[in-house]
Symmetry: C2
Subunit: 178 residues, 2 copies
């Protein structure tokens, strides 16, 4: 196999935002030359496929500022420092749509943006949901959109759903539960 | 429907790298409060599903510095300024694996990282490939990995392929060609 690996010569934080941590590294390329790599240091994220008591998916609608659009999504969120993906999944499920899950099953791990971020995302199936007594996160402007698995799959293939974690989660749940 | 939209109060470029363009905006939230949004201004990208003459997919192996791993991927790349997605797809196909495509078909548009980037990615099916006379891009360290559609689909479900564009492209080609 060809040598493909790049090794780090130096690494510098070039922007330290409240949300984004941007790095610029010097790397050695496989042919001995050097190059620069700019990338986002991301804490990782959890994405939840919530199955409601009537079998529908708890999709959400949410405005996503970077793409300036209301997106149809599965609930998801970033890991807090030191937080396990499972704990993050349960926390985000409660914060975003106000449900607890009695059963949480790991489905898959994906990489959303390997060109410019080290983000890993863990996908979980959440079943046996019960309504939480706690208020949901006041910072989240989210609209619940219960959708049958069949309709969700249709929205993947007809291009209504374009968010990658949501596409992959829906095709996973079709495979697991249909 | 609940009001979900956020409107821009101000926008500032906070890091202007050779590769990453980072913005920090002040926004008005639906409830009248203000908040900040940090995001990557991305030119967009094209991803190609190349079908070789024997019916196999031209997957590639490539070292991805942000995730510090050799990833199994479909060829893809960023749009040059003013470049159409179709042109980008054909250019990247030739640069990365040395093929021209006589037939290029738009498949779908996806959003890889809506939490922190405005990236849109156009996926194309590339058929009737012919070898290019031009040398491939010297900056690309890429290993060709011809793979049957069946094996590629297996690697999606068993977790060997974790890159989102590649997962979605493979499940599309399974649907279109199997």
């Amino acid at each position: 196999m060809a040598e493909l690996k790049e090794s780090t010569v130096s690494s510098k934080k070039v922007y330290d935002g409240s949300f984004l941590d941007v790095r610029k590294d010097i790397v050695n390329l496989p042919d001995g030359n050097t190059s620069t790599r700019e990338w986002i240091n991301h804490p990782g994220a959890a994405c939840i496929i919530p199955i409601m008591s009537d079998g529908r998916l708890a999709l959400i609608k949410q405005y996503r500022y970077p793409v300036k659009s209301i997106m149809i999504e599965l609930p998801a969120g970033k890991l807090d420092e030191g937080e396990k993906p499972e704990s993050c999944a349960l926390r985000e499920l409660e914060e975003e749509i106000g449900y607890l899950a009695e059963k949480l099953t790991f489905v898959s791990k994906i990489h959303p943006a390997i060109g410019f971020a080290n983000e890993e995302m863990w996908i979980f199936l959440a079943e046996r949901l019960i309504e939480s007594q706690k208020r949901t996160d006041h910072d989240e402007f989210v609209e619940l959109m219960p959708t049958s698995i069949e309709d969700a799959v249709r929205m993947v293939w007809n291009g209504k759903i374009t968010d990658v974690k949501t596409i992959i989660g829906i095709l996973w749940v079709e495979r697991l539960l249909s």
